[in-house]
């Protein structure tokens, strides 16, 4: 960084600037979460990305620089989708954001737990719980990992966040990543669902869920919650619990469940679960969001 600070700058300003420059990095979880999200979006934008960019310095999507710093609390509050949800659902926002953090955490977890695994890249479908076959009990879901959106067919994708991405447009990008993540419930956004041609050469390339069905079920639950389809969210969560009783995303799952219950007006159940969550995961980064979710109502 070639940073020329004028010697003549007033002392206060100098100090403030130098201090501020110490914030040039991001908390690993945040960075990871953001990277995954952007990776998903870019991958879904119809760019012919070779599985191995020939000259690219870094492999395509989730080349996670190991970020096993799980307990660290990111200095930025988990309000990732803040502008997304409309005003009345403030806690939804909070919770959804929290869960994004959870996603980041999960990412870290995967990496931390499976240092020997060949990285989380595009192929981890069975990685989290190899024992459980994806979707044995999900008939309506023809493809546990839906084919990546074919590169060319998604004008809708690239159009949305175009030149002037508005806060209202945020919704698309965030739920989109988990495109493969709609398990048994039908997502209500047909326009962007283009599952015509599975990209022939590199099926798992673009939108293959990074953490397999395990993660994508939860991602589906998250986006359902974010759009107010709490029943869908709840069923995704239940499905997830059946398939992955001891998932590494358990905290995220429980948080999503609580959020969905609150959304459905089942406060008592939500509170009870929140209390249990608090006991089981007193250190969880999601705890604050959960408290707000059940407390705000």
């Amino acid at each position: 960084m070639t940073r020329e600070i004028d010697e003549a700058l007033p002392e206060e300003l100098r100090e403030a600037i130098e201090s501020e420059r110490a914030w040039d990095t991001l908390p690993p979880q945040l960075e990871e979460r953001l990277a995954l999200r952007i990776g998903h979006s870019l991958a879904s934008m119809g760019v012919p990305t070779p599985p191995q960019p020939p000259s690219g310095p870094a492999p395509a999507l989730p080349t996670a620089p190991p970020t096993p710093t799980l307990p660290a609390v990111p200095p930025v509050s988990p309000l990732a989708v803040g502008s997304v949800a409309s005003a009345p659902l403030k806690w939804v926002v909070i919770c959804a954001g929290g869960l994004l953090v959870g996603g980041g955490l999960g990412a870290g977890t995967v990496i931390a737990l499976e240092p020997s695994a060949p990285r989380v890249e595009r192929v981890v479908r069975h990685a989290p719980t190899p024992a459980v076959e994806p979707a044995p009990a999900a008939p309506p879901l023809p493809l546990p990992l839906s084919p990546p959106a074919p590169p060319e067919v998604n004008e809708a994708h690239s159009a949305a966040p175009a030149v002037a991405p508005s806060s209202e447009d945020k919704q698309p990008p965030s739920p989109k990543p988990p495109a493969a993540a709609r398990p048994q419930m039908k997502r209500e956004s047909p326009p962007r669902r283009v599952e015509t041609v599975p990209a022939p050469e590199s099926p798992p390339r673009s939108e293959a869920p990074l953490f397999g069905r395990d993660g994508s079920l939860l991602e589906a639950a998250r986006s359902s919650n974010a759009t107010g389809r709490y029943a869908d969210a709840l069923s995704a969560v239940t499905q997830h619990e059946q398939e992955y009783p001891s998932s590494q995303f358990e905290q995220e799952r429980e948080a999503l469940r609580i959020q969905a219950l609150v959304g459905l007006g089942r406060q008592d159940e939500a509170r009870a679960l929140a209390r249990r969550f608090e006991q089981r995961f007193p250190e969880s980064i999601l705890l604050e969001a959960i408290r707000q979710a059940v407390g705000a109502e």
Binding site: M1, T2, R3, D6, L9, E12, L13, E15, A16, S19, E20, R21, A22, D24, T25, L26, L30, E31, R33, L34, A35, R37, I38, G39, S41, L42, A43, M45, V47, P48, T49, P53, S55, G56, P57, A58, P59, A60, L61, T63, P75, V76, S77, L79, A80, V81, G82, S83, V84, A87, G97, L100, S158, P161, A162, A164, P165, S167, K170, P173
Partner: protein
Amino acid sequence: MSKLSAIPAQAADPPGALQGWYREHLAFVFRSLERLGVPASDLEDLAHDVFVVAHQRWAAFDSSSPVRPWLFGIAVKVAAGAQQRAWRKREVPSDTYPELADRQPLPDAQAEREQLRRKLLRALDMLDLDRRAIFVLHDLQGVSVPEAAHALGVPLNTAYSRLRAARQQVTEALQRLASPGGDR
């Protein structure tokens, strides 16, 4: 800006290459947006958008220049768009940096750092976006003034005079915020 030197080589690649290296600019873009005044709740969304826009405009990128100032230029537009919408739709959030306030108690040193940081960010709120952009890009993000001027599409002299004015304004704001009652 050590990594910058590596970038132009990639610039000729199709946008797909962006997928590989956007990672190393995440923090830059995120912090840029933050310093440009994007509310904490929108930071991730808008950072995402910056890369999406960059991805779409990749063909327009002049590969002989460094990529970060270019990304910053996009970030300014994205931030400006978001700000306009915010003004139209709702009031500007009164507490722009809640994340610094709402967190659990911090060790003193860290609390102090965050306090300082919030003060500067609040001081930056006094600037209009043009001045803020040059101040952030040069003084905080360390991009040289000529490069910054180029990236922001303003004449060099304009960049310098905006920077001067911005520094003065920020200094005054910092003093105000430091005085008793100046900050909450």
